[in-house]
Amino acid sequence: MPVKSPFHERIAPLCTSYAWKHWGGYYAVCHFGESHLPEYWAFREACGITDVTPLFKYELRGKDAARLLSRMMVRSFAKLRVGRVAYTCWCGSDGKVIDDGTVSRLDEDHFFVTAAEPSLSWISRVGRRLDVEIIDSSETVAALSLQGPTSRDVLKQCSDADMDALKFFGTTRARLDGVELRISRTGYTGDLGYELWCDASDASKVWDALMDTGRDYGIVPAGIDALDMARIEAGFIMLGVDYHSAPHVTIDARRSSPYELGLDWCVELDRDPFLGQDALREEMRRGIAWRTVGVEADWGELEELYERYGLPPGLVPAASRESIPLYSGSRFVGQVTSSVWSPLLKRQLGIASVEAPHASLGSSLRLEHTVLHERCTVAARVVEKPFFDPERKRRP
């Protein structure tokens, strides 16, 4: 049975839809009001505030902390500067991804790691015989995500942090209504946005301060459904949806390497040894079998397809986690694992795993689409990901 997050007291009365789901052992709101769409639009036009406490959080302290992380992760942490955050994933010795998350360097010997699944035993195993203290702060640290174009203005108003100096993937300590916390310029929406990390006992105070200041900036409490739409537009993969944690599955076909997930950019292969290094080298030599790509369905064909049934195009502006087959001719070549009709971009978009020969930009595929119980296909194309990448996300 899930437990209540430290923000529950504030969030529960606002959740007039009673639409809750389980996330990481907590109750999480799917959507607060009758529809998730106003919450989605808040992410894109004003700012949405979401409780992300269910993320798993770990602190690593000690002179070997950077060494532990470099050994565990696919990238090195020796050179990550204090006050910077890096996105990364980690593999087993088979070179298959276990989980992904962010690592913040809070001090020379002090790191903060987020993960989608419990990872304490894994980190501890990698850290055996190293001088590192590993603290599971999953329950003691409460987390909020404040995302959207006005999120910076809200934090400027209610915190003492120098928000203009806080760069994309930077992190800083701050005071907010007397509460000590940490702000990082990170998030899961692909927009300008921040994540706030505070002591669980300060949760209500932080929530109140943000909501109070946010009123003038169009703040809207946002649930997981809206967040899921935004993350697909941003092209972010999700554990348990777009890929599976290697140790949790039984057959190799369900495991993915960082290359297959499109995380090539965060793998630093030629350096001191890390978990999975040999397997990844071997994969590079052999060639990468699958790729994770962006896919867009052809609107004209969708419209024609629905027209044949006398229906308007029934595309739903909600994230779908249903896996949908992709074909080249009549041959199965992959699957869309997350999809959404983006009301912002007016495109039917998906994140897909496809066989490498079909993964290049512009590749033509057929995407299964069900109309009135009947499985049909429409044309689809491999397109650039992220689908939505506003300049404000990175802008100083």
Binding site: G33, L37, E45, T150, G218, E303, P312, P343, L345
Partner: protein, 530 residues
């Protein structure tokens, strides 16, 4: 002198820009000339008061065709349409009716006035959606010309007819009624409560000089139901940063395809050589030449102004002179220090955030508002449609402050004292609007930081809408399809050779639809004139 351009488009509103974008996309060398210092025509946003972005004229987006959005890649160029889902209609006794995306809520709310209406409401929406779907191809293609029965016309009529085949008699009857009845009578066939009928009937009179009980207004009702977003009908939205951003997105797309766009370039006349348009003469005397000239101005301004009556054949000139423009609405834009309650809903209610507020408390109220207009006065107690875009899009106002857009009907262009008397009556008109609103939103008056009143006279003088008509011509039946703007000239050509016509005065009509601009460009390209 050689032609400098393949085409010159007169007018940088959304239709002129769309036409230019399609031509440029097809590789043609295009120049757009806009009279004002900013683009957009009536699709415009301006900082009339520092820090507050007013969408001065057009304030909601609904009819912009999905195909145009995709063809011109408008999302990439800044088009972002936020949905408007709710309609709040306050009544004079303090009660109000809220309708929105939640069918259960609609049923409960309407049932307070009539349980029967509550049950019929979703069926009505479905029926209107069905009618919209039937009509959709008509507004997405050039209108057939009954006078020119060529093969293409016959085929297109047959294609249309196929859609209507197999409709049952009820559906056909509904269709016919739709075309001929008044909005109130049409709604009266579905609903019994005045409190349901009155707010819903308003869509039937927007931009027309008719009352909700005038025949023909039922069609205008449908025109407003055709708004389509993402394949869903009856969908309305707000553009991020103000309506003007729609025009700017189209302009960016046009420029990306190589179109040249000049502001501050008023056109004085069409440059003629014999009976052929050869370019334009600017007000500063410059002559610019092109293989074709396309006017996005309204029909009256185009033919009687830019071309000149003396160059028109008498019958055509008569039709253009008779074309009904007669503006009937005004606009009041407010900068607000904070928000009051509306119809009992607090300012931070999600209802106001994504919705509009219709001041149409009863059918009699609406008719009385029309009575004023019939006799050349603005409505003392007008019908209004209010939107507060800053609630969903904080970028249009300073933090905590708001902009409110109030569409007001009736404000007849032809005042009893003559249209120029609007200069003397503007503030009294503004007062009538605010006083009426104050009744439904107590405390509004004291929160106003700035008031921007636009009368139909201003819409003409500043934005170039003849007689202040927001649609470049009423959407009445005799002015639609093959009659728009004149019988025989509804397919974007004009009686002047090499002069084409792409404004809202062409088929399928007004609103931020951009179809006239698109269809004109496509017809022109197919004709191989350029």
């Amino acid at each position: 002198m050689a032609d400098t351009y393949d085409a010159i488009v007169v007018g940088g509103g959304h239709n002129g820009l769309t036409c230019a974008a399609y031509l440029a996309r097809a590789g043609r060398k295009v120049l757009v000339l806009e009279r004002r210092p900013i683009l957009g025509g009536a699709t415009v946003s301006e900082q009339i008061y520092p820090g507050f972005t007013f969408s001065s004229c057009s304030y909601v987006v609904s009819l912009l065709r999905p195909r145009i959005i995709r063809d011109l890649e408008l999302s990439k160029h800044g088009l972002e349409i936020l949905p408007l889902d709710w309609t709040l209609s306050p009544f004079e006794d303090g009660e109000s009716l809220l309708r929105g995306p939640d069918p259960e809520m609609n049923r409960r709310n309407i049932a307070r006035f009539s349980p029967r209406d509550a049950e019929r409401y979703p069926r009505f929406g479905q029926a209107m959606g069905e009618l919209s779907r039937l009509i959709k191809p008509i507004i997405e293609m050039p209108t057939p010309e009954p006078s020119k029965l060529d093969l293409g016309t016959i085929l297109s009529v047959l294609r249309l007819a196929r859609r209507f085949r197999g409709l049952d008699e009820d559906a056909i009857a509904a269709q016919l009624k739709m075309l001929t009845m008044s909005a109130v009578d049409f709604l009266g066939e579905w609903f019994e409560s005045d409190r349901v009928i009155a707010p819903m009937s308003v869509s039937g009179i927007i931009g027309t000089f008719l009352g909700v009980r005038s025949p023909g207004t039922a069609y205008v009702l449908l025109h407003h139901y055709m708004g389509e977003i993402d394949g869903a009908f009856r969908a309305w939205g707000l553009q991020k940063g103000g309506t003007g951003q729609v025009a700017l997105a189209i302009a960016r797309s046009a420029r990306a395809h190589g179109a040249e766009i000049r502001t501050d370039s008023p056109v004085a006349s069409i440059l003629m050589q014999g009976d052929e348009a050869r370019g334009v003469v600017l007000e500063n005397g410059d002559e610019l030449r092109a293989r074709v000239v396309i006017s996005a101005a309204d029909p009256r301004r185009t033919f009687l102004g830019l071309v000149g009556e003396e160059r028109l054949e008498e019958g055509f000139a008569k039709q253009i002179k008779r074309f009904k423009l007669r503006g009937s609405s005004g606009k009041v834009n407010l900068a607000l220090d904070s928000l009051p309650e509306f119809g009992g809903y607090p300012a931070d209610s999600p209802v106001l955030r994504g919705g509009d507020i219709t001041i149409a408390p009863s059918v009699d109220y609406l008719e009385r508002a029309y009575d004023d207009a019939k006799y050349g006065r603005f409505s003392r107690r007008p019908c209004m449609d209010c939107v507060i875009p800053s609630l969903t899009d904080p970028s249009v106002a300073p933090p905590g402050k708001h902009v409110m857009s109030v569409f007001v009907q009736y404000a007849p262009y032809h005042l009893k004292e003559g249209p120029a008397d609007w200069e003397n009556q503007r503030e009294a008109f503004g007062d009538a609007v605010i006083d009426t609103l104050e009744q439904f939103a107590p405390g509004l008056k004291n929160r106003i930081l700035h008031r921007h009143v636009l009368t139909p006279w201003d819409l003409e003088q500043t934005y170039g809408l003849t007689e202040g008509n927001i649609f470049h011509g009423e959407l009445s039946l005799e002015q639609l399809a093959f009659m728009r703007p004149a019988a025989g000239w509804a397919r974007y050509r004009t009686p002047i050779r090499k002069l084409w016509f792409c404004g809202s005065g062409a088929h399928p009509g007004g609103g931020i639809m951009a179809t006239p601009g698109q269809l004109c460009a496509e017809t022109l390209l197919r004709s191989r004139t350029v």
